[in-house]
Amino acid sequence: MIRISNLSKDFILHNQGGTIIPVMAGADLTVAHGECVGLTGQSGSGKSTLIRMIYGNYLAAGGSILVGALDVATAAPRDIIALRRDTLGYVSQFLRVVPRVPTLDVVADPLLSLGVPAEQARHRAAELLTRLNIPQRLWSLSPTTFSGGEQQRVNIARGFAHPYPALLLDEPTASLDATNREVVLSLIEEAKARGAAILGIFHDEAARDRVCDRVVDVTGFTPKAAA
């Protein structure tokens, strides 16, 4: 489902003397349907960078990133937008939403963009928020005022609202208590069971061991010259 070949990435800092920072070279990776692959490596080794490149958030310098049939590395913006809507989900570490929008609508939003009727989308959103232990009295409030852990759970609910065939998870269990961590892990297991290809970063080793079928150390993708 996800197939990365010979991927490379440099950051060029034009306003800092044109410094070129090569951060990735020759990255190869595949994630099959129903498989969960964990990315490992020290902080700063490029795990999040890789995830962001697959999502089209960072531009690739070279190589290819196939998600389904689309090469994200060279695709037009509108094709990436369509991919994100239908196929590729992403749970980031940060919740970015329009202020004032109720939590229930924030979670239902990905479904509404797919044309799911509002009633049905909100029903699904309510189901996920209940599972993730967000009290119903908070659903009509904007998540911008929530605690870190609550925002994280809203973000997860949003990422799992639509059954994406491919999912990117950036530390989905960070800042969660044991109960909620368990809910997230079972959501991941259910997604695998329905055939989703999942690529994730898990600092929580026990979580990683439980849901990941294998791990890939991104240190292997670090350009040799810069090391």
Partner: protein, 252 residues
Amino acid sequence: MTTPLLSVTGLTKRYGPRIGCADVSFDLYPGEVLGIVGESGSGKSTLLSCLAGHQTTDLGQITYDGRNVLAMSETDRRRLGRTDWAYVHQNPRDGLRMGVSAGGNVGERLMAIGARHYGQIRDSATNWLGRVEIAADRIDDRPTAFSGGMQQRLQIARNLVTAPRLVFMDEPTGGLDVSVQARLLDLLRGLVRDLGLSVIIVTHDLAVVRLLAHRLMVMKSGRVVEQGLTDQVLDDPQHAYTQLLVSSVLAA
């Protein structure tokens, strides 16, 4: 494969020897929101007014729904401006008739395209005031009695009542305080999604485009220096100017 609703090639506008905007090309598809950012004087407003036909264009081509806009007669272009297109000004006073009631402001655009039944016009006006969250009992008030945020929402209602397909917006959230701005952003997002609008929005507010625009064009000295997916341009800017722009934003 769908075709672009608006297709722009090599658009250039000069003010004497100076460049307003130069060699701008892009495609806009149905349901897409394109953000244009850049500092004051970068040519973003010039570009918008050329596109909307408020200014003449020196060079280039604009194709809307298969029709060559620049070759159209003035009458045809004006009709387009009243029906298929809408233009939301930064200052609501430029887009509203301040001496006419709120309902009259919305109804006028309907009458301009031939609506004559008073009851129906008033019903549509009430309906649209509701959609932009203006209470029905304010329908007979003049915009002068409205707050800035309400005026801006009224301007949006006036523009959208004829069900346009393409909306031009010039700093629609500029000059509004942040809580009103958030409300307006939510409203605009909902309208884009529910009505399948295509929007070109000019702003200098990067937070606004991040939440609203699918794609982003960055302009400097009249030229497009970078374009792409909004979050990609903001999070991984490639051009020196965009890097400067993004890193200059103060975090609240």
